[in-house]
Assembly symmetry: C2
Homo-oligomer: 424 residues x 2
């Protein structure tokens, strides 16, 4: 992991895979096919891409219960405790409809309505990610979404990982379908005989999933297209080098394009973390991925002043930011851009990935400048409410008509003026 | 305007102009050019597309003041009153940062931070739209955005409409630039020597503007791509046909692809509105546009039951919905999908376009199923805050490590476990 100064820092943005023209064309044809042919197309693509022939691709109640039974009770308890923590945090995010009244009789307000149906994409592969199920489903459930639908690609044996089913079962999600890739996104966006259409699709996936989400955006809502994960640690000389190194590597092991950055004013810490990273790398099972990540996208930035360090962190706008300093709460007001902020030495990043409660679906690629963690507001929509009174209209009708005419919209002016007859 | 039953209703979705391959290629080359060459490229495109040679394209303080002086004081007062109403409504939308504490010392929370800079596109053409300036700028200002930047295409005389400058001046927006089209979106997204880069771009525009916004999404945030405007009126036999007709036509005059729909259980109202629309059309200055709109996208849907009428409205998910019935507040809970809901006979739609206070930037094309009016939350972002205590970590470290290992992420487990030394 190289040590650089602020001036030498390279930009971390734009590591999102945009896909090739060929990939885009493939995705478009899959979307069109599933839209036109429903289940038939879905099953054909599943055979083609997942190498398995399925007839019914909805996970049965028995499969869910078997998954639940396959895991020891202690682990189920850990998952249930994590789910309860996540639910508790997200419940505090809930917004309420509100109204404001005037003495003239006018009522103005904002009505909050949950989305009717939400779809969650859970990636396949060898590892199961129950935490991803929790983080995508719970905000939707807390928002009051009636129907949460989950899709995940089957293995060659036609099964999906127990960990995913277990997580779904704990949350009471009954709609789980064995389908992945662009065909899964198409099924969620347009519906098939088996899969109900949803209003919003969230969850990470490979480049085909990402391209398909971009393409259906507008017909349904989507979450942000996630890039590789990122961590920045802002630390002074009170930080312990081996803890900082371990936290940096926790993100580096995700993906060879993940980014781990230490920002500090302490040359001693910089050098000790560099040594620790090298030491700890050697014994990691995913050493190869983590090593490529820290070599290509990792960095230790030594700043001359603390102001420069803060500025650097804000320029990076990291997905995860750890603040390990003598008095971390003091820094909170200075941090402008970060998806999640971890304060103090006990707030090691994985605490937030699994257990503390806040969401782990966070803005990457510098989008923390303008994006937020996945949250309950993402699963509701607002409607303005205007109940204008006779008195209010009588007082303001000429102003409104004049405003409309200035904009060249005569029918607008006449619409409000038709009401004048009512008080003649 | 044709009268149909629910069964005959045609879908209104998907009238958004997706652009041609050629248009997409043009937009891409403009974006690349402005990104690489800044002001030089901007001015070249302005000369090419707006047929005017500019040197300095920032609107001067004198131009702003001249625009302000060009309008009579009474009209300025109307604009100021409208701006005050809009500001007052949006102030009620503001969210606060919050924290939740545990007795073990853990603090979890959500920090709200305004975006640093927002850009507003104001369309050109013969008419000036001060209301569009208000509706895009005020939520950003209320959110606490430090810098609001406005762009609008110049006419051949190198000027921009007084109405737009006047509105900007009333709101205290000093950064106004004479640039339109895809080159304006590029300037806002990437910055030039003259135009500061922003974090979010809002405001409607032609197909080149829409395509450019789609393309820069991810580098910056954007609002939804707006389709032609829509109104649905849900009415019983207490509604007056000439008022309903006038309100329908107020949206029809916007665009030949605008959609105006009456949903009712009253055959008498249906027929009377049909006659009134025909009568009122004849005297409208924008008769041609409005006539094409009601013929191609207008409809009077007569339902057998009130439940069917409600269902129809929810299927349409209109941008604007008027409820003109004996007791409109009773219907509010049944309306699931609408951008803005206007209750009662005095809440004529233009009341909301200009004056009442709620935003007129609303979801179109059925996206009210999952999207909201432009609002203050669109100009802030959230960051999760996690301050875990020693006690909490000690209690939960083994659970977190086990969860991480189940997901195959050993470095995650080790990161939290490094802290164990602290309480040995």
């Amino acid at each position: 992991m190289k040590i650089v100064t602020k001036r030498d820092r390279v930009s971390l943005r734009r590591r999102v895979d945009q896909g090739t023209e060929e990939q885009r064309a493939i995705v478009q044809s899959i979307l069109d096919d599933v839209k036109a042919n429903g289940d038939k197309a879905v099953l054909a693509y599943t055979e083609k891409f997942d190498a398995v022939q399925l007839e019914d691709y909805k996970v049965t109640k028995e499969e869910m219960e078997d998954a639940f039974a396959s895991v020891d009770g202690e682990f189920v308890e850990i998952l249930e405790e994590a789910a309860a923590n996540i639910r508790s945090f997200h419940q505090k995010q809930s917004s309420q409809s509100w109204f404001d009244t005037s003495e003239d009789g006018t009522v103005l307000g904002q009505k909050i309505t949950p989305l009717e149906a939400a779809g969650v994409y859970v990636p396949g592969g060898t590892a199961a990610y129950p935490s991803s199920v929790f983080m995508n489903v719970i905000p939707a459930q807390v928002a009051g979404v009636e129907r949460v639908v989950m899709v995940t690609p089957p293995g060659k044996d036609g099964k999906v990982p127990d960990g995913v089913l277990l997580a779904a079962h704990i949350l009471g999600v009954a709609d789980v379908y064995k389908v992945g890739g662009a065909q899964a996104i198409a099924a969620l966006a347009y519906g098939t005989e088996t899969v109900p259409a949803v209003d919003k699709i969230t969850g990470p996936g490979n480049v085909f999933v990402a391209l398909a989400k971009r393409e259906v955006f507008g017909d349904v809502d989507i979450d942000m297209i996630a890039g590789p994960s990122e961590i920045a640690v802002l630390a002074d000389d009170t930080a312990k080098a081996h803890e900082v190194a371990a936290d940096l590597l926790s993100q580096a092991e995700h993906d060879a394009r993940s980014s781990s950055v230490l920002v500090t004013t302490s040359q001693a810490l910089a050098e000790n973390v560099q040594t620790e990273v090298e030491d700890q790398l050697k014994s990691l099972p995913r050493e190869d991925i983590a090593r490529r990540s820290v070599e290509d996208y990792g960095m230790i930035i030594v700043c001359d002043t603390w102001e420069e360090a803060i500025e650097t962190v804000n320029e990076i706008a990291p997905e995860h930011l750890e603040v390990i300093t003598a008095d971390p709460i003091q820094e909170l007001g200075k941090i402008k851009h970060a998806g999640a902020i971890f304060l103090g030495p006990y707030s090691s990043e994985p605490v937030g990935d699994y257990f503390a409660g806040p969401n782990h679906v966070l803005p990457t690629n510098g989008t923390a400048r303008f994006s937020s963690p996945l949250n309950v507001d993402d699963f509701v929509k607002k409607s303005s409410v205007i109940s204008y009174s006779a008195q209010a209209l009588q007082k303001n009708v000429d102003k409104i008509a004049r405003f409309a005419r200035l904009e060249g919209l005569e029918a607008h002016a006449r619409a409000v003026e038709t009401r004048k007859e009512r008080w003649k």
